[in-house]
C-alpha cells in the first residue's frame, strides 16, 4: 500500500528558512561584511546613504551576485544530495519529488531564495499563501513539494 506523504506546514517551512538564512549569514555573508568594513563601509540600512552615494554600485552588484550564487549553491547542493538543508533537518521536513530529485529540480525550486527581498521571492510566497496545495510557485515549476520526514 502506498504511504501518503504529509505536506509540511508553512510555519515549519518558514522557521527552517530562517535557520538557513542565519547559517548563510554566518558562513557566506560574513566575509563580505568584513570586506565592506575594510573599505570603511558598513553594510546596514543606516548606512545605505553612504553606500549608494559614493558610486559603489559596481562593488555592491559584485558582492550581491557572489552572495547570491554561493547561497544558491548551499540550498541546491544540500537538497540535491540530502533532500534537506540544515533548517529542514532541524524541523524534520524534506524535499520530495516523484522520482529521484534531479539537480535541475533542486536548482529551480531555490532560484528565488538567494536574495532575501526580491520580487521573485514575493511572488513565490504569495503563490503559496493563495493556493490550496501549499506549494511555492518554484516548487510547482520544479515538480517538488516539501513534506514531513517519516519517523
Amino acid at each position: 500500500m502506498k504511504k501518503t506523504k504529509k505536506i509540511a506546514s508553512k510555519t515549519r517551512r518558514f522557521f527552517a528558512y530562517l535557520i538557513d538564512i542565519l547559517i548563510i549569514d554566518l558562513i557566506i555573508v560574513y566575509p563580505f561584511k568584513n570586506l565592506l568594513k575594510s573599505f570603511n563601509l558598513d553594510f546596514n540600512f543606516n548606512n545605505l546613504d553612504q553606500l549608494t552615494q559614493i558610486s559603489n554600485y559596481g562593488l555592491l552588484i559584485t558582492i550581491g551576485l557572489s552572495i547570491g550564487i554561493l547561497s544558491l549553491l548551499y540550498w541546491t547542493l544540500m537538497e540535491y544530495k540530502l533532500k534537506q538543508t540544515i533548517g529542514k533537518m532541524i524541523f524534520n521536513i524534506k524535499v520530495s519529488s516523484e522520482g529521484n530529485l534531479e539537480f535541475w529540480q533542486a536548482l529551480v525550486r531555490n532560484i528565488s531564495k538567494p536574495i532575501n527581498i526580491n520580487i521573485l521571492l514575493l511572488v513565490d510566497i504569495l503563490y503559496m499563501l493563495i493556493n490550496k496545495t501549499h506549494l511555492r510557485l518554484f516548487d510547482k515549476l520544479a515538480k517538488t513539494e516539501v513534506v514531513e520526514v517519516e519517523k
Partner: protein, 306 residues
Amino acid sequence: MKKWKFVIVLLIILWLAAIITSNYIKENNKPSFQDNNIALIPISGEITSFGDSSLPFSASGASSEILVDLIKKANDDGSIKGIILEINSPGGTVVASKEIADAVKQSKKPVVAWIRELGASGAYWVASSSNWIISDPMSITGSIGVIGSYLEFEKLMQKYGITYEQLTTGKYKDTGSPFRALTNEERNLLQGKLNIIHDYFVTDVAKNRNLTKEQVDQLATGIFYLGVEAKDLGLVDGLGGKKEAEEKIKELTGLKTINLVSYQRKKSFFESLAGLSAYNSYFIGKGIGEGIIAKASDSKNLIPTV
C-alpha cells in the same frame, strides 16, 4: 554520519569560497578603494539654503545644507584625500553661499575649485575659499556684488484705481512692499544693509585670495570676468578644465594617481518621479500664478543675493 560529513565539507567549501571571492573583489577594486580617492562635489544652479523645495519631494539647485554635509562627509571619510568642487552656479543667497564657503575653509583636506561655465558672485565666494581655483579661459566668474530687488506695482495699481492699505506697528515694517514706492529714507536704509553685505563679501574674498581689500574693492563692481581676465586680476589661480583640476589636486595631496569619486546626494524615488513627469507642467502653473502674484504680495521678498 555520512550526511553530516557532507554538510560540514559543503559549509567549509562555501566559507572558503566566500573568503576567496571577497579577497578577489578587494584586490580588483583597488582603484576605487585605495587611499587615493578624491571627492568630486558638484555645485550646480542657484545656491540656497535648502535647494528649490517648491516642488513636492524635490530639492533642485545647490542646497547649502546638502553641500555642507557632503564636504563634512568627505572630510570624515578616511579613503578621501582631497576634494574637487565642480562649480556651475550663478551664486545665490548670502547666508547659503557663506555657509558653503565656511565649510570649504574648514576642510582639513585640500580643496580645488573647478569653475566650468559659470562661477559668479556667491559661487565665486565659495571658490575663493578653496586652496586653488581652476577656471576655463572662457568661464564667467567674479561678479562680486550684492543684489536686492523686487517688482513694484504702485503705478500699475494707481492706473486701475486700486489702493493699498497696510496697518503696521513699526515705522519700517512694510519697507520693501511691492505695492508702494520706497521713500528716500527707506532706500538709503536698504542700500546701507546691502553695503554691509558687500563689505563682508569683499573682505572675505580678499582674505581668501591673499589680496588687499582695496584690490578686491576695485574689482567688486558686480561686473563678471572671463576666466582669462580673472587669472590676470588674481581672482583665479590657473586656467584649464577637469584635467588641470586633477593635476592640481594630485600636487596638493601628494598622490601620483587619483580616483575621482562622485559625491552627491542621490535622488529619492519620489524626486525622480517628480522630475520625470511633473516638473514642466508644475512650473507653467506655478510660474504664472504663484511666481508673480503671490511673491509680489510678500513684503519679505527682498532677500539679497550674491
